[in-house]
């Protein structure tokens, strides 16, 4: 059967990984790409971090943000996850004809505001318009460059006993977007879309033994933690009772048949750090607005090599795998 690209390939799960690892990376073959970090660390006058992301979210305006804000925060955060100070972004629009100019103005204003907050500049860009039906209102791509200040952040550095910390509640963005797409009421549920510059600054100030930072976007917390340990001698054990999830998000997910641990986050990060510095880093994170609900949720362990295991609130154990493709809601 011919292989075709389906939506599963874009969901951040196993199919996405396979497409990247088996087709794209071998074709393009270079060490910076092969490391498959949130961004690439490359040589320039100093060490640079370079990252790109495309944004295709629907609806383009959602509670807590819009596609413009997302396009800046997403790339800024990816650079921060490389230990870099984000500086310059490019920005490309692919606009479907028929988009009201007022909508574009709102999006551009969001972009401007977010750039100002993060002290980054959009220094180059492009705009294209396609016929009705050939786009979905607007797609945005941003690519960003930053100067590496904290080198060596890499999942390869995690060790047995390291603490796993999350910066706040999980599943907010994915759930808010799904609810607004379905037209159901969302109450107070908002996307957590935010740039994590201050938070990362506080983390690095508190400890120089941070192994890796990563933002759990598509595929959620569970997919990202799996990526750290797949095919390795180490695994991760987390405690369900310690993972912060807003009750509204849990309730919405229960209704929709989804799991918050697999829902996208756009303003959160995972920090793996030496256990001796865990409490210090946690305290520093909690001082920041974006880290006020930070929590230590588990440890890296040699007990379950290659796997992510969760101890449930009832004392049993549950294996959390990477998503294969997009989450499909369970009904009956």
């Amino acid at each position: 059967m011919d292989e075709i690209i389906t939506l599963d390939y874009g969901s951040g799960g196993k199919k996405t990984s396979r497409l990247i690892e088996k087709m794209i990376v071998p074709a393009l073959d270079n060490p910076a790409l092969a490391a498959l970090g949130d961004g690439a660390v490359i040589d320039g006058a100093g060490k640079l971090a370079f990252s790109t992301d495309s944004f295709v979210v629907a609806p383009i305006f959602f509670p807590g943000g819009d596609i413009g804000k997302l396009s800046v925060c997403g790339t800024v955060n990816d650079l921060l996850m490389c230990g870099a100070e984000p500086r310059y972004l490019s920005c490309s629009f692919i606009i479907e004809e028929g988009l009201p100019v007022s909508a574009l103005e709102r999006i551009v204003e969001s972009i401007r505001r977010e750039c100002e907050k993060c002290a980054v500049q959009i220094v180059t860009g492009d705009t294209k318009v396609v016929e009705k039906g050939r786009g979905d209102k607007i797609y945005i791509n941003t690519a960003g460059i930053g100067f590496v200040k904290h080198p060596g952040l890499d999942p390869k550095n995690i060790r047995d006993g390291d603490a796993v910390i999350v910066s706040g509640t999980l599943g907010d963005h994915g759930t808010a977007v799904m609810l607004s797409r379905s037209g159901m009421m969302q109450g107070e549920l908002k996307s957590d879309c935010a740039a994590l510059k201050t938070l990362c600054g506080s983390i690095h100030a508190a400890s120089d033994k941070v192994r890796v930072l990563r933002d759990p976007t598509r595929g959620g917390l569970a997919t990202t933690l799996n990526e750290f340990v797949e095919n390795r001698e180490l695994g991760i054990l987390v405690q369900e009772g310690l993972i912060p999830v807003k009750p509204q998000v849990q309730a919405a997910c229960d209704m929709l048949g989804l799991d918050p641990l697999y829902c996208a986050n756009e303003g959160k990060l995972i920090c793996i750090v030496d256990k001796d510095d865990a409490e210090k880093v946690l305290a520093a994170m909690r001082e920041c607005r974006e880290g006020r609900d930070a929590a230590i949720i588990g440890t890296v362990t040699a007990r379950y090599p290659g796997r992510l295991v969760m101890e449930t609130a009832y004392g049993g154990k549950r294996v959390l795998q990477k998503l294969t493709g997009a989450q499909l809601p369970r009904i009956c």
Binding site: M1, T6, Y314, G315, G316, R318, Q321, R330
Partner: protein, 354 residues
């Protein structure tokens, strides 16, 4: 937390030998896996997943017919999410794949949403995939009655609805059947009531416990079953009193009877079972997609090395299927036991060594 601990301890204290309990509900399978109950049970108590996932027991030739239907340009398929990734007899072929190839496939939470789609697309034929057991049957009946009332003619349902009792009877009568008790599906019981399961002790001398979906509910059901097994006293225990009554939801039962009648149906792994499926009555045959599109299903299952049927019935453990973990994996499932993330095979792969 305390009640879970108390129940686990109480279960451990019951002096029974090796006991095999079967649950027959996909949501129970999920709930058991999510809460990690199995690791709280003593070694002698084994939990098996029976034919309780309506998606899992849909034979591949039915999926094939649906896939073919989906490619008609005038058809919009509306379906619950679970069905979208189920492969037919050809590997990798599913509604999701067909959608990528241009088929109109929409996920709905309720069959009433499908009626809305029909009203919004008067030039298309909207087909709702009516999959499920007694839990979803009333909702499907409601959709037929609503479409009838409103005169929505471009709407039809493909009924794959099934009845649990004939399948359990067939399972129990099979050679080599060795299950000591059933954890009965809580939501089916909401519709059928305690009455709906009395055939287990009355005809087969087997105990049944109707369970809800929280870990405490399931552990309580297991406790009750073990007590009955210890005392050799078959009967039905209703451990889901907050939702299940003696008679069940009689209004829902009547709605289903009004629209549907029992008919012979094919279950993956069990073959054809008399009176085990629900087909639309003559009066509502105008809404029957099988008639509208002249769909016929062959009775013989396309032979493959897949042993899903045996796994679903608890006859073999997943690892004894020759395809398990090799040609059949969660990313590339052959049979539905691997499609569902907590299906017997997918679960076995995930929990190996835990």
């Amino acid at each position: 937390m305390r009640s879970v601990e108390k129940l686990s301890a109480a279960i451990r204290d019951i002096p029974v030998g090796d006991v095999r309990l079967m649950e027959v509900c996909g949501t129970h399978t999920m709930s058991i896996a999510k809460s990690g109950i199995k690791s709280m049970l003593p070694e002698n108590v084994k939990l098996l997943s029976g034919p309780g996932c309506p998606v899992c027991v849909t034979p591949p030739q039915v999926i094939d017919a649906i896939l073919e239907l989906s490619m008609r340009p005038d058809v919009i398929i509306t379906s619950y999410g679970d069905m979208l990734r189920v492969p037919g007899s050809k590997r990798g072929d599913s509604l999701l794949r067909r959608r990528a190839l241009g088929a109109r496939v929409e996920m709905v939470y309720s069959p009433l949403d499908a009626i809305k789609t029909a009203e919004e697309n008067p030039d298309k034929e909207i087909v709702f995939l009516g999959v499920g057991f007694e839990t979803t049957a009333p909702g499907t009946a409601a959709a037929v009655l609503t479409a009838n009332e409103k005169g929505v003619e471009n709407f039809s349902i493909l009924s794959m609805l099934k009845i649990v009792e004939p399948a359990l009877n067939a399972l129990i009568k099979m050679e080599g059947f060795n299950i000591d008790g059933f954890i009965c599906p809580g939501h089916v019981a909401v519709i059928l009531g305690e009455r709906g399961f009395e055939y287990l002790p009355q005809e087969h001398l087997l105990p049944g416990a109707i369970a809800g979906f929280e870990p405490e509910d399931i552990l309580l059901a297991i406790y009750k079953l073990l007590k009955r097994i210890e005392q050799k006293r078959p009967g039905i225990d209703n451990c889901y009193l907050r939702a299940v009554s003696c008679e069940g939801n009689t209004l829902a039962q009547q709605m289903v009877k009004r629209c549907f009648e029992p008919r012979r149906d094919i279950w993956r792994g069990l073959g054809a079972i008399e009176e085990s499926g629900l087909g639309l009555r003559e009066e509502y045959s105008g809404f029957d997609a099988e008639k509208r599109f002249d769909i016929r299903f062959s009775e013989v299952e396309t032979p493959t090395a897949c042993r899903c049927g045996d796994v679903i019935c608890g006859r073999i453990e997943p690892k004894l299927c020759p395809m398990y973990g090799r040609l059949c994996t969660p990313e590339d499932p052959v049979g539905p036991c691997m499609v569902s993330s907590e299906g017997a095979c997918a679960a076995a792969m995930k929990y190996a060594g835990i």
